[in-house]
Subunit: 418 residues, 2 copies
């Protein structure tokens, strides 16, 4: 498929067009290699805002951008809409669903994580996770339809059940979802119905640990809990889930009935990582070398949230987008060094710019080093950071307008049921 001169260039195959894969690809611009970026979707997704699509705050195209379009100016890169089925690290080739066998010199695994049900995969249909645009659309669809059904429902018990939302998991995703669901149901939808009172909707956040947002300082966890409660979210801590069936979450102290149940309790690497002959941690993440190479698989690197690594500073690297991008950059640097016959860069070290979680309009928490703040300041910081990092000018402006409009009017435009 490539021209003759390109056939003799080293072939770098990147699996996955998320933050890590895309960054690695871009950092190889101008290098004397042929880069093939392969993704199952034709778009790069701004995953930190996916919960906004699930809660009708943003529409899908506002947080997604065609990968082809992002890379159209990079001559040594080509994009393939395809899916890797298997990796043969000994023979240095991969099997693709549509294109068949493809050989590589260097392979960068940036396939990302999927929802982890910790062995209870049969819960998935009743409590979908949030990893793709389809997931987000399905959750939004279910919630909006539940309220439409509540509007027609005469039985008060059934009506209450239709208006109840349970979010499982008090990490960043769960907190963001719960806060956004509360805003959507209690404020946005409140104006639009005649027979039901959406402000009586009931959003419940379940967390197994004694506090939410365990990765943050305990004071911020507590602040986040208070901010969630001020939005009307019921936060239940120390809750171990016994079972999930259609419309029911079984807890130690009884059953919770809810039409909408969303799972935000954990992730694990995409299935393609399972068969790799290298050491993994308990949730299946690859234990990579300090240079992000996969031990036992020559020429293979892994980056992003499929990686288990204690970095050069002695701290575990979190599964967040800044870490994925830094890893992508590091691998690109290694490949360039190898091409130039130079020594490899020093082992990977994660530069932590701080972390934040948003809860709702003017509600968030943030910690940057030892500095901690919450409320409006944290929310503005969160807004700023997310706008700066959004790919593509159009999206940035559209998202800004959308947010500004939502902020002023408490309306949400992306409320389509299809």
């Amino acid at each position: 498929m490539q021209g003759k001169s390109e056939q003799h260039k080293p072939h770098v195959v990147i699996l996955g067009g998320g933050f890590g894969g895309l960054e690695c690809c871009r950092r190889l611009k101008g290098a004397d290699v042929l880069v093939t970026l392969i993704d199952r979707h034709n778009h790069h997704l701004f995953q930190p805002l996916l919960y906004q699509v699930a809660t009708a705050g943003l529409s899908a195209p506002e947080i997604a951008h065609p990968i082809r379009s992002i890379l159209s100016g990079q001559e040594n890169a080509r994009v393939l809409l395809d899916e890797a089925l298997a990796i043969d690290p000994a023979a240095k080739h991969i099997e693709l669903k549509e294109s068949g066998r493809m050989e590589y010199d260097q392979l960068v695994l940036a396939v990302g994580a999927r929802t982890n049900y910790f062995g209870k995969d049969h819960w998935e249909p009743h409590a979908p996770g949030l990893k793709t645009l389809e997931d987000a659309r399905a959750i939004r669809h279910r919630l909006l339809l539940a309220f439409e059904r509540a509007e027609r429902e005469r039985d008060p018990d059934r009506r209450e059940r239709l208006m109840r939302v349970v979010v499982v998991g008090g990490g960043a995703t769960g907190v963001e979802l719960a806060g956004a669901f509360a805003e959507l149901t209690k404020r946005v939808l409140a104006r639009d119905f005649r027979n039901i009172d959406p402000s009586r909707a009931h959003v419940i956040l379940l967390e197994v640990a004694p506090r939410i947002l365990g990765a943050f300082h305990p004071a911020l966890s507590e602040s986040a809990r208070r901010q969630l409660e001020s939005l009307g979210v019921e936060v239940r801590l120390n809750q171990r889930i016994k079972d999930i069936r259609e419309g029911v979450v079984e807890l130690a102290d009884g059953a919770l009935h809810a039409e909408t149940i969303v799972w935000g309790a954990g992730v694990r690497p995409a299935a393609i990582c399972d068969d790799l002959p290298c050491e993994k941690d308990r949730s299946g993440r690859l234990k990579v070398a300090p240079d992000l190479a996969v031990p036992g698989c020559p020429g293979v690197y892994a980056i992003g949230d499929i990686v288990h690594l204690v970095d050069a500073k002695g701290r575990p690297v979190p599964g967040v987008s800044p870490a994925a991008m830094q890893m992508g950059r590091h691998v690109a640097r290694s490949i360039r060094a190898r091409l130039a016959g130079k020594p490899p860069p020093p082992p990977f070290a994660y530069f932590d710019k701080g972390s934040m979680a948003t809860i709702g309009r003017s509600r968030a928490i943030a910690q940057i080093g030892r500095i901690r703040f919450s409320g409006l300041t944290a929310w503005l910081a969160w807004l700023f950071v997310h706008l700066v990092f959004l790919v593509g000018f159009r999206n940035k402006l559209a998202v800004l307008l959308q947010w500004f409009y939502s902020y002023v009017h408490f309306r949400r435009g992306a409320r389509l049921i299809s």
Copy 2:
């Protein structure tokens, strides 16, 4: 479901939340009736721009708005997400899919048209029409996927077939689609592929008559044909279709092979109109009385493109959105007059503000009375009219930005395949 005082008010049921139904509902604001607006979808669709969603120029939420949100300020109106299965005009009730039986005093049929295959319904899966957001997404999905497959394809014949688009029907929809497909494939996608050259994509417009846009003056038809050809569209006139199979259109002089085939050749009323005991025209449209009442069905009105009517000025009313809105207004006026015990308004007369069709960037035709113009002026007029009529501030601004951005950069953001 309604309160006690409302139970004694006349019940106006409006089937369909398109231009006509929505306008009728809004014009009943403050009237001493209970209005129930029923639609299968939760959104009002700005149908004149649907072709932009099919061709990746706009995203779905930019041309759709939740009906609940539009009517949230109207106290005598409630919105039901439901579908009418049958009408019993003698008993004055309708059967709804979810809510069961509903009685009415006045019924306004504003259900709109569906794609008409003129008895060849088995062509539908191979040549989908464009009436709903789902249709638009399916067409876009098919086209973008065809180009992704072309990028992987090594056989030149198959590659050419994947990059060929056939549009059936040279009316406004067909012309807009063909022009937008040409712009998308030849300009927008042209930058993004490595193995194929999208500018060699082939868009063919088939029309059975000796000229396209038969509703316009022949000089404008000719101008539209030239403007289409300047975009690279092949316009074939006097083409009668013998058969359509998967990927093939059979014409008198041979077969056309194309991965993407879209049907824009005609419409007929939604199925619910079929069983009404009143006279219909050849394409199934209801022959209504001069006041838009359906003969033989007391209390039932019909509006929009399901209606066949020669108006008070002696001219047939076209199936366009301004006509639907004027009809909706007229029916609201009739209902108000009846409530007040006043004489009915004079028979319906369509006020023709002119008509236009767009072909592409800076390309359009327009006729207002005897004035005819084409090219950039017509396109600016078209842009202005469509922005003014878009429902909802957010959408207007977003669409304007999107268009401006597309105009300057020739990019399209809404290129998601899902």
